[in-house]
């Protein structure tokens, strides 16, 4: 074959470049059997990856512990403070819970439950430097499917983008390819009635913050305000999952420039819940 002949080196690299470009084009256009092939290959390698996860997980934890010692210490202090605050507000929660139960019964709102949610462990982060994903240890065999929302007790983590039999890849909300339909918390409108604004929270290139778009100049969005999933029919995510907290607002026209910090600490995910599409989110 001419491509292997000594002294005639160029054809093989040209052939490989053309093949690569053809594959990239097919994948970008979502044409051809590439997605299916990826899934089959991942399934084939899944047992090896599971064993490797079990073997390497302590090593990764150990190194992670060393490199994050400083932040772990401050996180510990913060958690201790949070615990004290939580203990103080326990009584308040009891009252609120009973009020919520009464109101739910009164309004006939289906109670938000997490019994359908699938608990999963985060086994690894993104293998590359240009994607913001995590891999979880539950897949098709546990009922996980593409486009399902992934949450923690604190809020929204992302959505499932790839599933194999025993694992799934979750695209984090900070990935520039991510986008979430959101609503703000209630605020008093011009007539004094509680109102809220809708928008779209999107990951930003090269940043851990989200950009909130589609919020008009009259909306009263303030720093510290919490933003939730809207649960619109066009949205993949169930309603009222906390997404982020406003950290920067710049009044502009026709829309405000708003940045959000994710509610969930996406750098130290350990356990998450996958919310089936037909189900509902756990109560935030």
């Amino acid at each position: 074959m001419v491509v292997y002949r000594r002294g005639n080196r160029r054809p093989i690299i040209i052939l490989l470049i053309i093949t690569s470009i053809a594959l990239i084009t097919l994948d970008v256009r979502e044409a051809g059997p590439i997605t299916g092939s990826k899934s089959i290959a991942r399934d084939a390698l899944s047992p090896v990856a599971s064993v490797a996860d079990r073997v390497f997980s302590p090593v990764g934890d150990w190194v992670g512990g060393i490199t994050r010692a400083g932040s772990l210490r401050s996180e510990n202090e913060r958690l201790r403070r949070d615990l004290e605050e939580a203990q103080g507000s326990e009584a308040k929660v009891d009252v609120l819970e009973s009020q919520l139960a009464e109101l739910s019964a009164l309004l006939d709102i289906p109670f938000v439950e997490d019994s359908d949610a699938i608990a999963a462990r985060v086994v690894s982060g993104a293998p590359g430097n240009f994607e913001w994903t995590v891999r979880i240890d539950k897949g098709k065999s546990s009922g996980v499917g593409e486009d399902m929302a992934v949450v923690t007790g604190a809020g929204l983590v992302g959505k499932v983008v790839d599933v194999t039999q025993d694992s799934a890849t979750v695209r984090l909300i900070t990935d520039p390819d991510s986008g979430v339909d959101v609503v703000t918390a209630d605020y008093p409108g011009p007539d004094g009635e509680p109102t809220r604004s809708t928008g779209f929270a999107k990951g930003r290139t090269g940043s851990d913050l989200l950009r909130l778009t589609g919020v008009g100049p009259d909306a009263r969005v303030e720093e510290g305000m919490e933003i939730y999933t809207s649960g619109r029919t066009t949205s993949l995510f169930p309603a009222r999952i906390p997404v982020g907290r406003v950290v920067e607002v710049e009044k502009r026209s026709p829309e405000q420039e708003i940045l959000l910090e994710p509610i969930v600490n996406l750098d130290s995910l350990e356990y998450v819940k996958v919310v089936p599409a037909a189900g509902s989110a756990p109560l935030p």
Binding site: L16, I21, A22, I24, T169, D177
Partner: protein, 173 residues
């Protein structure tokens, strides 16, 4: 190339992909992961020359692409180009420089990363077009340079009996 060599190269591909997807996401420094498959490509290409180096890089890149969210074929392209380039460089060497492993791994890592980013940008992957990329690429290349110390001996083992004539003739200083 014997079947034994092919088997060793296959094992090298599988090992680098498994390590890249399971261990190295947790072994980031300043948030940056190395490119194990790229360093393995450089180590192999350095022994087997441009054509086989490019083929190995293509295979290793394709295997890794199965686990990435970036377009399929992107790593294959950058690994193949780097494998080919390293093979050409090796063919021109009469003696092996003292720090061939970290030097080639670092430089190859930088070139491979740049090719990856350039083609990703052309393919519409806007996330690579950020100031973050300016420090991710050199950091990843530095990490790759360190891994070169480990992967060059592994590459030598995997390609035993399939070395290009120039690699067979090269001697350490």
């Amino acid at each position: 190339m014997t079947w034994n060599t092919r088997l060793r190269l296959f094992l090298l591909v599988v090992s680098t992909v498994v390590l890249q997807t399971t261990l190295f996401p947790d072994l980031r420094f300043f948030g940056v992961a190395p490119d194990l498959g790229l360093v393995a490509t450089i180590a192999v290409a350095y022994r087997v020359g441009p054509q086989r180096g490019a083929l190995y890089g293509f295979a290793n890149g394709l295997a890794l692409d199965l686990f990435l969210q970036t377009p399929f074929g992107l790593s294959a392209l950058s690994f193949a180009v780097v494998g080919y380039g390293v093979g050409i460089v090796q063919a021109g060497m009469s003696q092996e420089p003292r720090f061939a492993a970290p030097l080639l791994s670092g430089l190859g890592g930088l070139v491979g990363g740049a090719v990856f980013v350039a083609v990703a940008a052309l393919a519409g992957e806007d996330q690579v077009l950020a100031t973050r990329t300016l420090w991710v690429l050199p950091l990843a290349a530095a990490y790759d340079a360190l891994l070169g110390f480990v992967l060059f001996p592994v590459g030598r083992w995997a390609t035993r009996g399939a070395e290009a004539p120039a690699a067979r003739g090269a001697r350490s200083l």
